[in-house]
């Protein structure tokens, strides 16, 4: 049910813990601030983070004639969200599913949700190059997918996995819209000394090596992770993170 969705963008990483879901939610909120109608689909079935990050835990998904109605962040219905997190009875419950069952769920999320008219559908994925990723690619065949945004941290232990994610995109024909280097540098609030806790520059170097666009750098800013449902570009407008989110939104919407 993606016929009325103008742009589909995947958010990928090879590595876990790099901030993919935080980037996905902040990008969705940034686009909403710019008055686009946005959808955010969370296909991380084992670790669905989107409901928590958008403060939507406990919300119910309703069935309509055409399919499932997504959860909206507020009454103006500018940001629609779907996640397996909404279908769990208890937030501590594990989804212990093998590949085939995960594949079926991903397909359902893509075909049975009444997204309505959307300018942008962002799809947040788990780390890796496996069932969820293969299934989403298969389900998106025939639907125009703008491409993928890939998130990494600067360390080689991260970029090493992200290189494989770029290969996945090339093999499956997904254009790489660009790479984001997250957790790049920490400025001490006391003395303003900047420490590259997870190294620096690895994302930018990988973008050059793999010949994909570099979308920008997000520094470590503990405030961003605690924004929960609020747009960084609105709450922390002067922060380096807000600047980068605005730039990325600009690049993907032009």
């Amino acid at each position: 049910m993606l016929e009325s969705v103008k742009h589909v963008i995947l958010i990928l990483s090879g590595k876990g813990g790099v901030g993919k879901s935080t980037v996905s939610t902040q990008l969705a909120l940034t686009l909403k601030e710019k008055d686009f109608k946005v959808g955010l689909l969370d296909i991380d079935l084992c670790g669905p983070s989107i409901p928590y990050l958008l403060q939507l835990e406990g919300k119910d998904v309703h069935q309509a004639d055409g399919g499932w109605v997504p959860v909206y962040t507020d009454n103006d219905q500018k940001l629609a969200v779907m996640s397996i997190g909404f279908l769990l009875n208890n937030r501590n419950n594990a989804i212990v599913w093998r590949g085939p069952k995960k594949t079926a769920m991903v397909r359902q999320f893509l075909t049975d949700v009444c997204w309505g008219d959307l300018d942008y559908l962002l799809i947040d994925t788990p780390p890796g190059t496996s069932d969820e990723h293969i299934s989403v690619m298969e389900s998106l065949r025939g639907i125009k997918c703008d491409g993928a945004i890939i998130v990494t941290t600067p360390q080689q232990v991260s970029t090493e996995d992200v290189r494989k994610e770029i290969t996945f995109c090339k093999k499956t024909g997904i254009p790489v819209l660009g790479l984001i280097e997250n957790m790049s540098g920490f400025v001490c609030p006391s003395c303003t000394e900047c420490t590259n806790i997870f190294s620096k520059g690895g994302g930018e170097a990988l973008a050059e090596l793999a010949q994909v666009p570099f979308l920008g750098v997000l520094p470590i800013d503990p405030r961003v992770g605690t924004l929960l449902g609020k747009a960084c570009v609105k709450e922390l407008p002067d922060s380096p993170s807000a600047k980068t989110f605005n730039e990325i939104a600009q690049k993907i919407t032009t």
């Binding site: 090879g14 590595k15 876990g16 813990g17 879901s21 935080t22 084992c46 670790g47 983070s49 928590y52 990050l53 937030r91 501590n92 419950n93 594990a94 989804i95 212990v96 599913w97 093998r98 590949g99 085939p100 995960k102 594949t103 788990p126 780390p127 890796g128 190059t129 496996s130 069932d131 990723h133 293969i134 360390q155 080689q156 232990v157 090493e160 996995d161 290189r163 494989k164 994610e165 770029i166 290969t167 996945f168 093999k171 499956t172 920490f186 001490c188 609030p189 006391s190 003395c191 000394e193 420490t195 590259n196 806790i197 997870f198 190294s199 470590i220 503990p222 992770g225 605690t226």
Partner: protein
């Protein structure tokens, strides 16, 4: 000790253990793991890929087949500890590890988290997974807990523990809390370069904490063990 890296899509152990370009050899007795040291060996799909750009784009059944091969066809020799490094999640790799080792005896699981709620949210599910498949939770380690500015020594929470961090989660979930490891950028660099930070950075607070955690577990376990 041996490390089995069952993160099939994102194998990191070859790099972190400093054996990135090593080869795996086959003999009559099976595959030989790569030796990092006389008493530390490792097996990973990373050794079987010909280029760092090679992606393993496999569905669950094929990943399970690889894990079964690693467990049954590698000549591990006599081991005190087999540590299995898993990818994030509660899916094929984790189910396979617990199923294939159910006969051999899986001592339990060490769970690693960072302090912030978005991580704890997934870790509670991991603990639930362990309970569902009868894997004993040996304990939880909180990684990247605190950062000490090298300039002014101020402590900063990079990943704010707004819901009490791993310690509180462990109390709520009734599992042992093993300790916290502070963030040390030098360790991050050592992992990238495959250097032995345990021996080369003995004064790092993170290394000291890690040694304390290992000492505690070693005192408690006296039998040969496999740990996920």
């Amino acid at each position: 000790v041996a490390v089995l890296d069952i993160d099939i899509c994102g194998p990191s152990q070859p790099r972190v253990l400093g054996v990135l370009n090593e080869q795996v050899h086959q003999s009559g007795s099976g595959w030989s793991p790569v030796f990092v040291d006389d008493n530390l060996s490792v097996m990973s799909i990373g050794f079987l890929l010909s280029s760092p750009d090679d992606a393993v784009i496999w569905r669950g059944p094929k990943k399970n087949g690889m894990i079964r091969q690693f467990l049954s066809e590698v000549d591990w020799g006599n081991l005190d500890y087999l540590l299995m490094d898993t990818p994030p999640g509660t899916s094929d790799e984790h189910l396979s590890a617990s199923t294939y080792l159910s006969q051999a005896g899986l001592t339990g699981a060490l769970i690693v988290t960072t302090p912030q709620e978005v991580a704890l949210l997934d870790v509670r599910k991991e603990i639930d997974f362990c309970r569902k498949v009868n894997i004993k939770v040996l304990g939880v380690v909180e990684n990247m807990s605190i950062f000490v500015c090298p300039c002014c020594k101020r402590l900063s929470e990079i990943f704010p523990a707004t819901t009490g961090g791993a310690k509180k989660m462990c109390e709520e979930m009734n599992v042992p809390f093993l300790g916290s490891l502070p963030l040390d950028p030098t360790i991050a660099r050592f992992c990238d370069e495959g250097k032995d930070f345990i021996n080369e950075l003995p004064n790092s607070p993170a290394v000291k904490s890690l040694n304390e955690i290992v000492k505690t577990k070693d005192d408690e376990d006296s039998l040969p063990a496999s740990v996920v």
